[in-house]
Subunit: 255 residues, 2 copies
């Protein structure tokens, strides 16, 4: 039975999709058979891999009965990494799609049918505490919370922790916090450094790993690649995700 | 009858709330009686003004019949600027709240009752194309689209434009594009500059104004102030919002 991790944040643009892509890659490189699922109606996973997301078959097709698991799950160049992209979705249908994802048993069924043969399932979500995120929490075993090192993101962190607790109490008793991951940290800038200190002092479960703000991420986005595939001098940031993968795997065995 | 502007973006963290706060301030300083409404269940407007959003009465209370218009609409220090914050909302109730906002006539009624006496109503939204954003588009006369100068945000811009067109055709014939506003632009960094050039060449309706990435925004966030209130040397960024306000007012009279 695959271990399922949902990556969530109420605040937008904190690096959820970037963490999902690069962490899934690093976990697969360690030999963990990993399925990366895109629960975001925006389709960030497909867009990030510059596959022209509009054409990729995926979860939306699976839920509509318009594709089989074999058609929807995409094998990447890395044998241990597969992707279930958002799929073909008219942006005008997002409200209905969110309600479908949130319907009892729907996402559970789709993930169960796709997760066979994988060690880990990682689910990217849209920002907010709406239906895709609630559905992801219902299905997951663990929640990973990227938090941008800036004041607005920290002010809303307690809101998502409260929702996680409620889901664990009422809908999914397996659900636990995997960790809080500081992202886009600029230690040389005071508001960012102060925010990082606030997270360390005010919250439990903060990971050792810290993801700094780095230009290589924008470069990778523009090329449609995870940073690990950029080659050359990026190894420092890619190594950071290797360390994060190690920390995550240690936590999964100890929690 | 107040002119209603909804500020929306499918991508998260692009500067919607920051633009709303600083633009509403600049419009009010030009004597336009402005009401800033927070349609984001995250409550970014209240959090940005460090009012301890959890306690502020606002839209959620109004819709629940737990507050009157007089209690929910907050007069700021600036006579021409008032705010309708998110209001008291349990983060566990976000899914239900989004459905309430999206129910036919609900937001229309709330805005109509609060907009009396204002020249402009500006609505901040959560990222995505879900129910709060669709409700905002149904109510609004114009859509303002902040777009971060980075590849992922540009790849999804055509999705929100498509939704805007659909809402104008089927739900709200008044709805038009006010403009596309490039944000967090770093002209000295190639992926950002390239993204800005892509927006200028690929899309119509791009505003003259460009909001650069600037540390003063993080500083303002940590102090819970719009940049115009920071005082001192920030006048360059605050002036930029004054120019933006001028451009917006010209467009509103000419469109
Ligand atoms: N550590 C980082 N340093 C610099 N830029 C980053 C970093 N992580 C992500 N980015 C960039 O920031 C932008 C937002 O990141 P990303 O799309 O991963 O965030 P998100 O939380 O998934 O956003 P959304 O709320 O839209 O889903 C992207 O352009 C990405 O390349
Ligand atoms: N031009 C800018 N330069 C630098 N930082 C900025 C700029 N505009 C906004 N920010 C910062 O970026 C972060 C995100 O901005 P903001 O919260 O306004 O985005 P948003 O689109 O409203 O996010 P969400 O998707 O969560 O609603 C905040 O910390 C803010 O201070
Ligand atoms: Mg994302
Ligand atoms: Mg916001």
């Amino acid at each position: 039975m695959a271990t399922k991790i949902v990556v969530a944040s109420q605040k937008g643009g904190v690096g959820k999709t970037t963490v999902c892509l690069n962490l899934a890659l690093a976990l697969a490189e360690r030999g963990k058979r990993t399925l990366l699922v895109d629960l975001d109606p925006q389709g960030g996973i497909g867009h990030s891999l510059a596959k022209g997301d509009a054409d990729l078959v995926g979860l939306a097709d699976l839920l509509a009965g318009a594709a089989t698991r074999e058609e929807a799950v995409l094998q990447t160049k890395l044998p241990a990494l597969s992707i279930l992209p958002r799929g073909r979705l008219d942006p005008c249908d997002v409200c209905e799609y969110e309600q479908t994802l949130h319907s009892p048993g729907v996402l559970e069924g789709a993930i169960a049918s796709c997760a066979t043969g994988f060690d880990l399932v990682m689910m990217d979500t849209p920002s907010g505490l709406g239906m895709p995120t609630r559905a992801g929490m219902r299905v997951a075993d663990f929640v990973l919370l990227p938090v941008q090192a800036e004041p607005l993101a920290i002010r809303t962190l307690s809101q998502i922790l409260r929702v996680m607790t409620r889901v664990a109490e009422e809908e999914n008793p397996r659900l636990r916090l995997l960790g809080i991951l500081p992202t886009m940290v600029e230690k040389q800038k005071d508001p960012s450094l102060q925010s990082l200190i606030d997270v360390w002092t005010d919250f439990a479960g903060v990971l050792e790993a810290v993801i700094p703000r780095a230009d290589v991420f924008a470069e990778a986005s523009s090329k449609g690649l995870p940073i690990g595939y950029l080659g050359g001098a990026v190894s420092q940031e890619a190594r950071r995700f290797e360390h994060l993968a190690g920390e995550i795997l240690d936590l999964l065995t100890s929690l």
